[in-house]
Amino acid sequence: MIVVKWFFLILPVFLTVTVSAENALPTNTKARPAWQAVDGKQALAKMAHAMQTLNYQGTVAFLRDGKLEPMKYSHAANRGREQEHLLSLNSPLREVVRETGEVSCLYKATQQLVIDQRPFERSFLIDMPNDINQLDAAYGIEMVGEENVAMLPAYVIAIKPKDNLRYARKVWLGRQWFLPLKVVVYDLEGAVLEELVFTELDVKDALPFIDMKPLADGALPSQKSPSGSSAQAAFVMAAIPKGFKEVFFDRKPMHESEQPVDHLLLSDGLASVSVYMEHKNSAQPLVNNDTNGVQSVDAVNFFSHSLGDFQLTVMGEVPSETIRLIADNAKLRVR
């Protein structure tokens, strides 16, 4: 009799607590989708690892400013060696290879080979920092759902900026291999700025490495130069927006002349901003020197103005306000 009495006493308490927990905690595993049990940040960390270590290939469409660029994509990995390979399907036909910080682009029509040093980039798909925690200062990462991309089930991860100095992103991550199937960048109004989406993606045991060589004598000299220190720059950054840090500096000729250009790259882990400074050159007309205008090319905003005897240009895939903020904080170095 005592057992029955206690049972009736405990039953209402148990039922009330159980139902309250169900409603108050959406992360409860009972009767909720499987994707809610996956942490968005951990999933992105797995993605970064998968992108570096797996062999995969497919067809990817790059969409930017209304223009569609479909390309064949492959990533080969073997014993720490990595190589990305892109082959355009539409004109102008070109083949692009990225390996150990070097990007080679072969234009098929002219057989011209352009070799570019890009040690600060890792992928044509999405660049993630080594330490995913680096994003914490500027972004919140959240698993928001599950959808199908290229007939593959994918987790949807939202990367939301904590201020209006950078853009929001969404990543559709293949559930099986944790490879990015779709990446979208949104502007401050929520409109799509850039998008890439795979229409097919296969993971292979092994893929060949491409040895890119021009068929004719069209190779442009590689502009190899070791990454230097920003202490050499003709300018200093009085302040930079929260989350950004200096990731690369180089001084080298960029144009047909031998005039060197200082190039400082800032990054918050996802978005990057370049600051260029070079001596004014009468042969090169100044860009918008008489206005405060921020111009844009596709998703890239840029601003240029004179600073003493120098021309300063800031550009990046960030809002115009960020461009101006960085430009206003670039000061001539006092020696």
């Binding site: 009495k5 009736f8 006493l9 039953l11 209402p12 308490v13 009330t16 139902v19 309250s20 409603n23 108050a24 959406p26 930017r64 223009k67 660029e69 390309m71 070109r94 692009v96 990007v103 570019d116 980039e121 044509f124 928001v144 759902g145 939202a158 939301k160 209006n164 969404k170 949104y186 401050l188 109004e189 929520g190 409109a191 799509v192 960029m254 144009h255 790259l265 990057s272 370049s274 090169q284 860009v287 206005t291 405060n292 205008g293 921020v294 111009q295 844009s296 090319v297 596709d298 890239v300 905003n301 840029f302 240029s304 240009t313 550009m315 895939e317 809002p319 115009s320 306000e321 101006r324």
Partner: protein, 180 residues
């Protein structure tokens, strides 16, 4: 005496005998079987006079019934008792629990979460951030050509130019920064 007993039996059958006298009569019947048989006969006559029907019973009828009752098996079934007051409170508590379960399930917004609508909202594009001082104009129909310097900068800035910008010259548009 005999006449007096007959009169008492008659009054007893007509339910007119006083309680004490009826009890005394029944005690006498227990010891005097002839008296009990007499009351049986009186009862039968009374019944026949009232209903015009009469069934003759054997002299040992009541004895046989009594014997059969003695051989009848006894079942020790629990008797129905009134509900304990403590159980009434338990029943009330259980009912309240059921009501709370139904109420909580039907009113999830009490807890500030609505799973279904939340999932829908999460699949929407991110909400627009507060207005920035930058107002991007619509693409200028008279697009300005980029100079070679900006082309070089773009190429140095981002490797995606090999993917997206094979022809940079035709992709320029201008926005304006409005200073506060």
């Amino acid at each position: 005496m005999k006449e007096e007993l007959n009169q008492k039996i008659s009054q007893f059958l007509d339910n007119e005998l006083h309680y004490d006298e009826a009890l005394d009569l029944l005690q006498k019947m227990r010891s005097d079987t002839s008296l009990a048989q007499k009351m049986g006969r009186f009862e039968a006559i009374s019944h026949a006079m009232k209903s015009d029907q009469f069934i003759t019973l054997g002299a040992d009828f009541s004895a046989k019934i009594a014997a059969q009752l003695e051989h009848e098996p006894i079942y020790l079934l629990p008797s129905k008792k009134p509900m304990n007051r403590g159980y009434q409170w338990l029943a009330l508590a259980a009912s309240l629990a059921v009501v709370s379960v139904v109420a909580v399930r039907s009113l999830p917004h009490i807890y500030g979460t609505a799973p279904a609508s939340l999932q829908v909202a999460q699949q929407q594009p991110p909400k627009a951030l507060p207005n920035s001082p930058v107002e991007a104009k619509k693409p200028n129909p008279e697009e300005q050509p980029l100079n070679a310097r900006i082309n070089d900068y773009l190429q140095a800035h981002n490797g995606s130019v090999y993917v997206n910008n094979p022809n940079l010259q035709s992709m320029t548009r201008v926005t304006t920064y409005n200073q506060k």
